[in-house]
C-alpha cells in the first residue's frame, strides 16, 4: 500500500509540474491481489472546478470498499456515491458552488473485495460554477 501511495504521489507531482494550468484526474491502479483490486484517485485542481463526477465500472461480483475514500476533502465539499448496475458513481461537490483550492488533492482509494478484474474508469466530469463542463485530463 505504501508503494502505491508513493507512486501515486510521484505521478501526481510529475503530472502537475508538467501541466500546472490544467485539471487532471490521476487514476492509479494498484493491481490485483487475492482479495481484490484497488485504485488511488487524486485530483489536480486549477482552482476552477466546483464538483467532480467519477464513474467506475466494478468487477463482476465485487464488493466496493470506500473506507479510505474522501476522508479529508477540502472544506465545504461533500462526497456522495452509489453503486448501480455494476457501476460506482462518485460525486465530490461543493454545494455553494465554490471551487476546489488549486493543487493536488488526494481523494483516496477505491478498493474492491472479490471480483476478478480491475476497476475501470468509465467517466470523469469536472464542472465549473455555472454548470459548464471543464476540460480535464485523465492520467492512468
Amino acid at each position: 500500500m505504501n508503494k502505491l501511495i508513493i507512486a501515486s504521489a510521484i505521478l501526481a507531482l510529475a503530472a502537475f509540474s508538467m501541466n500546472a494550468s490544467a485539471e487532471q484526474l490521476l487514476f492509479t491502479k494498484g493491481g490485483m491481489s487475492k482479495s481484490g483490486s484497488s485504485v488511488a484517485v487524486d485530483y489536480v485542481s486549477d482552482g476552477k472546478s466546483v464538483g467532480l463526477q467519477i464513474e467506475v465500472d466494478l468487477p463482476s461480483k465485487a464488493q466496493v470498499d470506500l473506507g479510505n475514500f474522501a476522508k479529508s476533502l477540502p472544506k465545504g465539499f461533500t462526497f456522495e456515491h452509489n453503486v448501480s448496475n455494476g457501476k460506482l458513481v462518485i460525486l465530490v461537490v461543493n454545494n455553494l458552488n465554490q471551487p476546489f483550492p488549486s493543487g493536488l488533492i488526494s481523494l483516496g482509494t477505491i478498493k474492491t473485495v472479490g471480483g476478478s478484474s480491475d476497476l475501470i474508469l468509465s467517466k470523469f466530469e469536472s464542472v465549473g460554477p455555472t454548470g459548464e463542463i471543464l476540460d480535464a485530463e485523465i492520467v492512468q
Binding site: 464538483g51 464542472v127 460554477p129 455555472t130 454548470g131
Partner: protein
C-alpha cells in the same frame, strides 16, 4: 421576414420563436410578427433580474418566457396556407382558458384550425374533432405537440408535471389550412399562462422533440453533475437573479427551480444508466 421564412420553408422548418433575442439580451416578443396589439400587454421576462426587471417569471427553457392574462397573446403570421402544420410549445397551467390557437388567416382571423385549452383539470383540443382530453393539473409545466393535416388525421401529445412519458391523443383535423398561430391567453378565462419553447414546422414526418427536462446546462443530452451544478447555481443566485441556467432546470416542472430539482437530478446521476439515457428516452 417573409423572405427569410420562405427560405426556411424550403427546409421544412417553419420557425422557432424564442422570447430572447440572444443569450445576453433582455427578453422580448419581437420575433412574433402578428397582432402586435394583443401582444402589447403580455410580459416577456424570465428568472433573471437585470436592472429594470421587476417582474421575474418562470420559464421552461432558456432564460425567457411570456406571461399572459386574458386577451394577451403573441401571433406568428409566417405560416402560409399550411396544409400540414406541426407545432410544439410549453405552457404553465396558471390559469384556465385557451392558450393556443391556429387559424386560417393572418392575425388570428378566419376559422380556427387548432386550439389548445386548459380548464383546470384537463387539456383539450378544438378545431380538430374526436380528440380526447388529457388530464392535467394546475400550476405545472406541460409541453404540447400536435400535427394538423388538412381534413386528415390529427395527433397531439402532452407531456408534463414530471411524467415519465407523453400522453398521445388522436382525432380528425379540421378541414383547412393554417395561416397564423397565436400563443398566450386567447379569449376569456381566469388567471394567467406562461408560455415558452415554441417551434413549428410543416413536416409531418419529423416530430419536433420534447425538450428534455432536467437538462439544465443544455450543452449535451446527458444528465450529469453539470446539470446539478447549473441548477444549484440558479438556486444560489435566486435573490440576485443571476446564474440562470440556460437549459431546462425545472425537472419537477412545478415552475420553481429549487432544491427539489437538484435532488431529482441527483437521483438520476447516482442511478446509472439513467444519466446517459434520460434525454434520449421517454424523458
Amino acid at each position: 421576414m417573409k423572405a427569410m421564412t420562405q427560405s426556411i420553408l424550403a427546409a421544412a422548418l417553419l420557425l422557432a420563436l424564442p422570447f430572447a433575442a440572444s443569450a445576453q439580451a433582455t427578453c422580448t416578443k419581437n420575433a412574433w410578427n402578428g397582432n402586435t396589439g394583443a401582444a402589447t400587454g403580455a410580459l416577456a421576462s424570465g428568472p433573471e433580474l437585470p436592472t429594470g426587471n421587476a417582474n421575474k417569471i418562470a420559464r421552461y427553457s432558456g432564460k425567457c418566457a411570456v406571461r399572459a392574462t386574458t386577451g394577451q397573446f403573441v401571433t406568428d403570421d409566417t405560416p402560409s396556407a399550411e396544409a400540414t402544420y406541426q407545432a410544439r410549445f410549453a405552457f404553465y397551467t396558471g390559469g384556465s382558458g385557451k392558450v393556443f390557437s391556429a387559424t386560417a388567416s393572418n392575425a388570428g382571423a378566419g376559422a380556427e384550425i387548432v386550439g389548445v385549452s386548459f380548464n383546470g383539470s384537463a387539456i383539450s383540443f378544438s378545431g380538430a374533432t374526436g380528440v380526447a382530453t388529457v388530464p392535467a393539473v394546475a400550476n405545472r409545466w406541460y409541453q404540447v405537440r400536435f400535427t394538423h393535416n388538412n381534413g386528415g388525421a390529427f395527433t397531439a401529445s402532452v407531456k408534463g408535471n414530471a411524467a415519465a412519458s407523453a400522453t398521445t391523443v388522436t382525432g380528425t383535423s379540421a378541414a383547412g389550412t393554417v395561416g397564423s398561430a397565436s400563443l398566450g391567453f386567447i379569449g376569456a378565462g381566469t388567471g394567467s399562462f406562461n408560455v415558452d419553447s415554441f417551434e413549428s414546422t410543416r413536416s409531418a414526418t419529423t416530430p419536433i422533440a420534447f425538450q428534455c427536462r432536467g437538462n439544465a446546462n443544455a450543452t449535451d443530452t446527458i444528465i450529469s453533475l453539470a446539470d446539478r451544478i447549473a441548477v444549484n447555481a440558479e438556486i444560489l443566485g435566486t435573490a440576485l437573479g443571476s446564474s440562470v441556467a440556460s437549459g431546462q432546470p425545472d425537472i419537477t416542472e412545478d415552475g420553481l427551480v429549487s432544491l427539489g430539482d437538484r435532488l431529482a437530478i441527483n437521483q438520476i446521476i447516482l442511478n446509472p444508466p439513467q444519466g446517459s439515457t434520460w434525454c434520449g428516452g421517454a424523458n
